[in-house]
């Protein structure tokens, strides 16, 4: 099998990128053409538009144990499909704000806008995001063992029930 499973051993973390074809994917290409060096952790998935990116892809990646997810598309107003990133902005912002309730660190998910001409900005984005994920370290997994000794009911967690639970 390919060595995907022991990524961590190489000092790398799992970072997934979802990029729109027209702006950010081209911008990442342009960064390559300009040989702008970047950390190697990121794996990019190409989509036609940020409007195609279902927040559930991001959740799936995070639940699967991705240490970071980076979404990038055209700047609002510059969408190749006119409105795709306007929809994406609402969806992704909603996801980003809901994430904390699940205990998943919202810092592990970033969405941004990088145009086809902004190769330097792409390099900067990848460097910054990778550095941030490394600072956060490997993401906790759902599969990690939970200490059974802790009382993990909601009441146990909140210690009291003045308002009658959730």
């Amino acid at each position: 099998m390919p060595p995907s499973n022991d990524l961590k051993d190489g000092g790398e973390l799992r970072i997934i990128g979802f990029l729109c074809n027209w702006c950010s994917y081209s911008g990442a290409d342009a960064a390559g053409v300009a040989r702008l060096e970047q950390p190697t952790d990121l794996r990019i998935i190409r989509t036609p538009c940020t409007g195609r990116i279902d927040p559930l892809f991001i959740l799936r990646a995070l639940i699967n144990g991705a240490d970071g997810v980076l979404v990038s598309g055209c700047h609002p107003g510059d969408c190749h499909y006119v409105e795709g990133n306007f929809h994406a902005r609402r969806r992704l912002e909603t996801l980003k704000r809901i994430l904390p309730i699940s205990g998943i660190d919202p810092e592990r998910f970033k969405y941004t806008w990088v145009s086809a001409s902004e190769s330097g900005r792409w390099q900067e984005t990848v460097r910054e995001f990778t550095a941030k994920i490394h600072a956060l370290g490997p993401a906790p997994r759902m599969t990690d063992v939970v200490s059974r000794s802790k009382d993990l009911s909601l009441e146990g967690l909140l210690l009291q029930d003045e308002n009658g639970g959730a």
Binding site: L59, H87, M142, S147, L154, L157, L158
Partner: protein
Amino acid sequence: MNVLETMKKCIREALPDLDMVMGWEQGFDTLHATPLFMETAEDVDRLILGPTCVQSLAVHLPSLKGKKIGVVVKGCDSRAVVQLLSENLLNRENLVIFGFGCDGVVSLSRLKKKLGALDFIESAEKKDDRLCIEINGEQQDLPFDDICAPKCLTCSRPNAIISDHFAGPQRTPRIPAKGKTALEKFEEKSLPERFDFWKAQMQRCVRCYACRDSCPMCVCRDHCVAVSRNPHFVSQEATASENFMFQLIHVMHLAGRCVSCGECERACPMDIPLGLLRAKSTEVTSALFNQEAGLDQEAVLPLLSFNIEEETIEEHD
């Protein structure tokens, strides 16, 4: 004429033009109500209204699309109807809504925590702000606020907000008690504590889908990705991570649509506090889009629209 009789009269009058009217009847004891599907005038006699009518009957409406249906709704149920209408999942012409003002409903799981097993119920009756219940041969008299559904404590819309017939008087909305909500208290915990909490809860989840099946806004029916597994967002394995994935899918599907009826949490046989996830989602979407689900038939779902300049979203650069 009391509320129930007025309601029965309304339904009897409307029934000839309808295929069916949905309401509640007494279940196996006076503490449990069960949905009632009224097709004849005699069926109407069995109708009850009261604190045991917990189920939201709106959940059945989308699958009955095409029939002429009547439905009895509490305030919270009516919001689900409004939301379904706004999403083109119901035909208003085929729907007759019987509304009333709700005094709150009981929470069996809170009652259980107070009284233990609820096996032998002789009678249960709400008297003003107390619930009088005869259980295992003992008479109990409990403050209603201690055993009502949590949503009723902060209910701002006890009256059906949409109806063709409204029985009885309008109820006044509750003023939410001071103090932190469960969500606020939960959010004081650190991210790892929250994550561990859900991990433990999701290990308890049995993937019975009661939360989904009781949700009036869950309209995929047989096509739910959790069972069709196409698209393969989630596998059939009942592991903590897959269970959590399923719950988060549900949250995302409900974002901007959840009417906060609390049915998911009520239906959960494992008492998993799913309301926390819903409350957060509602908090987020109302803050972002200044819009609450289930109030306006003409509203466009916030996640189906956009503004070119989003005032509430900081530009991510």
